[in-house]
């Protein structure tokens, strides 16, 4: 009897999401990125099923950050108060595929800046760089609901990725993303069931599943990375099993989480030079999460960006 063919097949694939719009598409971006498309587990053996290459989004704060350690802040000294110049540096010098404009400054506890400020920063950054933008709120529901719709409107036509929406706060930002034709980030607190629920809620509002990028929350190396890893992995397996409510590309916030760790920010000489430790921690976190199956990596330090870029180039 011949050896039987026992190949099993996966039913689903990660959807492909494009961010950015060029002049022909009604925007002013000079490049766009497309992520997703994998129809296998990471390193599943079939290069044809890998999907698109993961991309790197470099964080650009909307106002000078208060709590960045010197090893990181020093890299942006010359642009610390100027988001547009910061974005330009990240794109032109450090090779960001995408700029993640992070509106921490509008948070009531971190500056409480208003919508006019946020709109101006959005316009300035759009004018300064040609790469696509991620527009990421402060995490304060009330303030985000007040400011982010105006940010969205200011970037209308640019096909940005805007977020985040959660199970408890999704209506206004989903509606505005739909109206302004932006892609949307759905967020869950390291809970795969809530991750699925928020996608269902958003799709119930008529928002297309094919335009969603998921954010399952991120833990850094040594600080819960295994939770992030296993959730990313479960998302991919659910996708491959045909669960359309989970079949989206995902984004991870490595920069913020890695630079909160003691190992990255402590001034402890016997741990080795701080300027090497931080980027190393950041890159290691990113590379581990890439193997769990994620698509967009938010990073901060240029050396971490270079290391992770090189890893992607070698492995994909």
């Amino acid at each position: 009897m011949p050896v039987p063919r026992v190949a099993d097949t996966f039913k689903g694939a990660v959807s492909r999401v494009t961010i950015g719009a060029t002049a022909e598409e009604g925007g002013t971006r000079t490049t766009t990125v497309t992520v997703g498309g994998a129809s296998n587990v990471v390193y599943g053996g079939d290069p044809g099923k890998l999907g698109e290459k993961p991309v790197i989004a470099v964080d650009v704060p909307d106002s000078a950050p208060q709590d960045w350690p010197e090893a990181l802040a020093g890299q942006y000294k010359d642009v610390f108060d100027d988001p547009a110049a910061w974005a330009k540096k990240a794109a032109d010098e450090y090779g960001a595929d995408v700029i993640c404009l992070k509106f921490d400054g509008i948070h009531p506890d971190k500056g409480d800046l208003d919508a006019d400020h946020a709109v101006k920063v959005t316009r300035d950054v759009l004018a300064a760089v040609g790469v696509p933008l991620i527009l990421w709120g402060s995490g304060n529901d009330a303030k985000d609901n007040q400011v982010m719709p105006k940010v969205s409107e200011a970037a209308k036509g640019q096909n940005c990725l805007i977020g985040t929406v959660t199970e408890d706060n999704y209506k206004s930002l989903t509606a505005i993303a739909l109206a302004d034709s932006h892609k949307l980030i759905t967020e869950a607190p390291l809970d795969i069931n809530i991750g699925k629920q928020v996608n269902i809620l958003v799709s119930d509002m008529g928002y297309p599943l094919a335009n969603i990028v998921t954010f399952q929350s991120t833990g850094a190396l040594g600080y819960g990375i295994e939770y992030s890893y296993s959730i990313q992995e479960r998302q991919r397996l659910a996708t491959l099993g045909g669960d359309k409510m989970m079949a989206m590309p995902s984004i991870v916030d490595v920069g913020n989480e890695a630079w909160r760790t003691r190992e990255a920010k402590s001034d402890a000489p016997d741990w080795g030079p701080a300027e090497a430790r931080g980027p190393m921690w950041e890159a290691a976190t990113a590379i581990v999460l890439l193997q769990s199956g994620t698509d967009i990596i938010r990073l901060r330090h240029p050396r971490a960006v270079a290391t992770v870029k090189n890893f992607i180039k070698e492995m994909w």
Partner: protein
């Protein structure tokens, strides 16, 4: 669970009449509604009334595919009727041929013909094979499993992958004298058939047959569906318009950890 919508069947009066009067709207509406309710395939059975069964099958297939992209499950005991449907069908979305026994007294090669037809329909051409042979429908567990083993062996020998094979252990009406042992036998058989190969073939049942003639049809159907699913049943020809049945199916899959839980899992199940 792979749900195969059962409603486009000439045994139902509305379908029978639609076939006789060539009334496309009735058929297309059933196709649309069953798809919306989550059918992965639409069963197409011309029933017994049509004089020209091949012609009726081709007409049904063309009528459905004019407006609906859901893959079809061509249902007939006669290979020539299946062939007529296959000829008319767009098989690019996949197709399921329903069904062949292991063999027949007058046709020892019937299963080979079905496998061949499915292979000719492209990589998503699949078949349902009944645990039934020239001696008829077995009542016990062992004969069902033995026939299933021969079916699996034949498919493997023909290079036909297991994900393209659906084994049907044949559900009989429970409301028949001395038939109450059958559901237990079928569940036991399912538990053994899934061990025949790795990956195993799909296991499918024609669920509504179970409650033929009984009261509480929907309750009987959905209770058995969940019981059988927990032993390896992963496909069923069902009334997908029966909301409670689909709810039970979704809940069963969630409890068996085949679908991720979310508060709106019932809705997610239908949208998937």
């Amino acid at each position: 669970m792979i749900a195969i919508g059962e409603r486009i069947n000439g045994m139902f009066t509305d379908v029978k009449q639609a076939i006789a009067e060539k009334d496309k709207a009735v058929i297309q509406d059933l196709a649309k509604r069953q798809t919306e309710c989550g059918a992965s395939y639409l069963d197409v059975n011309v029933g017994t009334a049509a004089a020209d069964q091949e012609g009726a099958m081709a007409w049904l297939v063309e009528t459905i595919q004019e407006t609906c992209k859901t893959p079809l499950c061509l249902d007939s005991q006669k290979p020539n009727v299946i062939a007529a449907g296959l000829k008319a069908a767009d098989t690019s979305m996949g197709i399921l041929l329903n069904s062949s026994p292991l063999n027949k007294k007058n046709d020892a090669e019937v299963l080979d013909k079905f496998i061949e037809m499915a292979q000719s329909a492209g990589p998503e051409g699949k078949i349902i094979a009944l645990t039934m042979d020239k001696n008829g429908v077995p009542q016990d567990v062992d004969t069902r499993v033995a026939i299933a083993a021969e079916i699996v062996e034949k498919a493997m020998g023909a290079g036909f992958e297991m994900h393209r094979l659906f084994v049907d252990p044949i559900v009989l009406p429970v409301k028949v004298p001395d038939a109450q042992q059958q559901p237990t036998n079928i569940i036991a058989a399912i538990g053994q058939i899934v061990l025949l190969s790795d990956p195993p073939p799909h296991i499918v049942v024609g669920l509504s047959n179970l409650s033929q003639g009984a009261g509480e049809r929907s309750l009987i159907n959905r209770t058995f569906l969940v019981m059988a699913a927990s032993h390896g049943l992963d496909a069923a020809i069902v009334d997908v318009l029966d909301e409670q049945l689909v709810d039970a199916m979704a809940t069963g899959e969630m409890l068996l950890n085949k679908q991720l839980y979310s508060d709106s899992y019932l809705k997610a199940y239908r949208n998937a």
